[in-house]
């Protein structure tokens, strides 16, 4: 699954994956009871800058993509209350001296939209300067994170924090 895309799965064994999460955010949600999950890879925080584009592809933006992801997993039987959410990405890849830190803006847009949607993050691997890859396995709910040449399994059933090099990180 590439940039500005979203996939939902409800078949055990299915693996949803997204690569090269630089300043983009990969948001994974999984309902362990319904065994339904979804993965969204968005690039920009706010569709207001290009509403026409967001109608063509809502997954490009946090504010249009996240609600769509949630809608789609719920249509497949997930319950919003049971969703376990993880986020990866939001790095400062392209130009660390850029005035607009898109990675950080994407991360804050994520937090705002999830808060409004009533979902807290179970774990995150955000910030820094490196790219990441995320894989979500439907059925088991296992989540893998690849970064810095290493891969680790993030177990969604309890809260876990990944690398966060921003000064205001938790």
């Amino acid at each position: 699954m590439g940039m500005a895309d979203c996939k939902v799965g409800h078949v055990a064994g299915q693996v949803l994956a997204t690569y090269a999460l630089g300043s983009c955010i990969g948001l994974s949600v999984y309902d362990p009871k319904a065994a339904v999950g979804g993965l969204l890879h968005y690039m920009l925080p706010d569709s207001g800058i290009d509403p026409a584009r967001s109608r063509q592809n809502p997954y490009m933006f946090a504010d249009t993509g996240i609600p769509k992801l949630l809608e789609q997993v719920c249509v497949q039987g997930a319950s919003r209350r049971r969703l376990v959410a993880h986020a990866a990405g939001g790095a400062s890849i392209m130009d660390p001296k850029a005035i607009f830190d898109i990675g950080k803006r994407n991360y804050l847009a994520l937090r705002k939209i999830l808060w409004k949607a009533g979902i807290l993050l179970a774990g995150e691997a955000v910030g820094g300067g490196h790219s990441r890859t995320v894989r979500l396995e439907i059925g088991s709910g296992r989540l893998w994170l690849q970064e810095n040449g290493g891969q680790k399994e993030l177990v969604p059933s309890f809260p876990q924090k990944g690398v966060n090099t921003w000064p205001t990180g938790s």
Binding site: I99, F100, D101, L108, W115, K116, G118, T168
Partner: protein, 159 residues
């Protein structure tokens, strides 16, 4: 207590509070607007070592946007009271965050924040430190004045 100590504490406190609880980031410093009716102004005093006073001025549109986001409400269903309550708490948090950075070994007590008529400038003989950022829906100014006991608002309190 010099401006060079206070200013970084002030700017860092503003950024930290706005990012961590209000989802606003990368805020660039902006020029402070003159007093106007579409600005909400909050004032509070604090005891500490040293004591002082704090003011926050916030564009009303920004106050409403911030309040809606904080409470997880839609802009349309947000009440004036809710907007005021969030604005007061925002001022309380920024002031507390500044003092925690400056007065790391002393105890401080914040007074209750209150809405006041909008004016730039705190009153009293000591220098004040002011910092303004653009939030995306309007500017926010935080100002602090320390080491004075004559610091008091002469503005009338708006209800």
């Amino acid at each position: 207590m010099t401006d060079t100590t206070i200013r970084p504490a002030l700017s860092s406190a503003v950024a930290d509070v706005l990012e961590r609880m209000f989802f606003l980031e990368g805020l660039s410093e902006a020029p402070e607007p003159p007093p106007e009716s579409e600005t909400v102004s909050v004032y509070l005093t604090f005891d500490g070592n040293p004591p002082g006073c704090f003011q926050m001025r916030l564009a009303r549109e920004a106050a409403n946007a911030i309040a809606a986001d904080f409470l997880g409400e839609d802009r349309e269903s947000l009440t004036d009271q809710q907007s005021t309550d969030v604005t007061l708490e925002l001022a309380n948090m920024i002031c507390g965050a500044v003092l925690s950075r400056i007065e790391s070994n002393a105890a401080f007590r914040l007074g209750a924040p209150q809405i006041v008529a909008d004016e730039t400038g705190l009153h009293g003989p000591m220098e004040e430190t002011r910092y303004t950022v653009e939030t995306g829906s309007g500017t926010l100014t935080a100002a602090i004045q320390m080491e004075t006991r004559t610091c008091s608002p002469t503005q009338t309190y708006a209800s």
